[in-house]
Symmetry: C2
Subunit: 331 residues, 2 copies
């Protein structure tokens, strides 16, 4: 009997994710029953949202992973054995596979993926990062040509797509990053108008210079020190999409937000969103993203880790900012 | 030649409003030219928004009052001399009259008011408080029967109307106030489900008991100590209308707001609004409010000060919370 490995969550991180919250366990590869099929997972997507799934906050947007269960993760796989007429062997599927090498499914929550799109493009553009960027930009921020948009974690998997789509719509786009290398990538390769490093002491002055007409749209992925200066430069009727606060997730006590005074003075709108609320739109968004990808409008880069045994450690890269592109584990 | 008095803004308040920022000046009552009419102001409305109009922040939602000019205020008056065919003598008008006993107008910015509605009802319900409450509740919060709404400054001119309208729509309504007398008025006279005093040490515990199903809608008029506990109890997809922050206006440095973490976790929407953006809806809102008033659905109370010379001092009551009802100056 063949076996496979799975990463189980066995403890909850206090602040930062440590190795001892996971355990890698081995099990026998199961056999599909009627109406089921066996998926061999080929790639896992590592995403900042995973930190939230590991916490015990029952009020969060999706229930936490229970202790002892396989860690939740989205992944890409291939059907290797099937008793389901709609999922013949060789079908590629994308969805919440979990951090494991094999799973049995009846198709619930999985989407079929055309075999011709490379796995890295699927995970970097068509899947969670892409639909998140698309929803946040189009539905929440509702951009108009000529507006100024600021996006944090601008070299990240979501931010880099937000900026490119906004540029294609005719906006002025300023990205906030944490390293010179990322700044160069988003300005020289992706065409952002400007990149600012939030570590710089004169970040607020640089921001003012890069946004001479103020800021109309703010796509927030990080929280942390960049938030207050960006918030202070929001124009009247400005819109803010709160997509992530990666600088806050590992803190025991998250930092306070800015005073609400400008919310009135500038009549700002702030909207938090998470994609599990919008599953019904994934197919439409995916189609739009696929079109942009084919036209060469969306560039991406990936940071590939090899082997499921290295997945638990790799998650930390998301929080240190040391990953260079969409973080993927390839089995 | 007859004279009249006007209150001019001659300095900007540092934090609290002090008497020396105003000067009462006397001028000759002017004569209307063709297309104009003379209004004798009979009542002024004192509103928290006046604090913002006195500051020098050019980025605020309407330009500040210039030093030396008549202080901006909304008021109710009667045409006493006219060379305008549409505004015969005896016409009652409502609008931005300024803090003065007389003014010349060509009708711009003034609305005619049916003579049969009492002046106090006009100022307490049909004018700024009413349209603010109506817009914030219906347009921003979009209430649904069965939801729980919390409103701060719940005995105030706006908050008391928000709560009554929400009750009429079938919501559970909890009001936050600063005194036992106000708590009794909103529960016993206005029908709020519960009233909480933000001065109480166990405010957060009382709030939890009064909102067993959490909070869906938050109509924010005050800022201050009540904000964080209310924000912490917002339900998923909760909506927040930021209408006022009266506890913050007089501070040199407004307090920070809550962490944005719950904005994501609960997918909250926060919208600041001010009514000058929505002048085009005032007529519709006024009609709806008049209908509710006639049906006896909206109770109000007024706190009347007599004489223009007492207007500058009376503004302070809005910030100390010592006014009992819509603050009106009657000439």
């Amino acid at each position: 009997m063949q076996t496979y490995r799975a990463v189980h969550l066995i403890d909850r991180p206090q602040q930062e994710i440590t190795a001892d919250v996971f355990s890698i366990e081995t099990a026998t590869i199961p056999t599909p029953q009627d109406g089921e099929f066996l998926v061999k997972v080929t790639h896992l997507s590592l995403d900042p949202a995973m930190r939230g799934w590991m916490s015990s906050d029952e009020n969060s947007y999706i229930p936490p992973v229970k202790l002892g269960e396989v860690m939740r993760a989205s992944g890409l796989g291939e059907v290797v054995s099937s008793k389901h007429p709609d999922y013949p062997e060789g079908t590629k599927v994308l969805g919440m596979t979990g951090m494991q090498e094999y799973l049995i499914s009846d198709g619930t929550g999985l989407n079929k993926i055309p075999a011709e799109i490379p796995a890295e493009a699927v995970l970097a553009v068509i899947s969670l990062p892409g639909v998140t960027a698309y929803h946040g930009l189009y539905q929440v921020l509702q951009p108009k040509p000529g507006q100024t948009l600021v996006v944090t974690a601008a070299a990240g998997s979501v931010g880099s797509l937000v900026g490119q789509m906004a540029k294609n719509l005719g906006l002025r786009v300023v990205g906030v990053v944490g390293s010179e290398e990322k700044a160069q990538w988003i300005t020289q390769e992706l065409g952002f108008n400007a990149a600012l490093n939030y570590h710089d002491q004169d970040f607020a002055e640089q921001l003012a210079a890069a946004t001479p007409d103020g800021i109309d749209l703010f796509f927030e992925n990080t929280g942390g020190v960049a938030q207050a200066p960006i918030f202070a430069r929001m124009n009247a009727h400005g819109r803010i999409a709160v997509c992530g606060l990666i600088a806050e997730y590992n803190k025991d006590q998250p930092d306070p937000g800015p005073s609400w005074m400008n919310i009135i003075k500038r009549r700002l709108s702030i909207q938090g969103f998470t994609m599990p609320d919008h599953f019904d739109r994934f197919a439409d968004y995916g189609q739009a993203l696929g079109g942009m990808l084919m036209k060469g409008e969306l560039k991406y880069r990936t940071h590939v880790i090899h082997g499921i045994e290295n997945a638990p450690d790799a998650i930390k890269l998301l929080f240190s900012g040391d990953n260079k592109g969409k973080l993927i584990v390839e089995f």
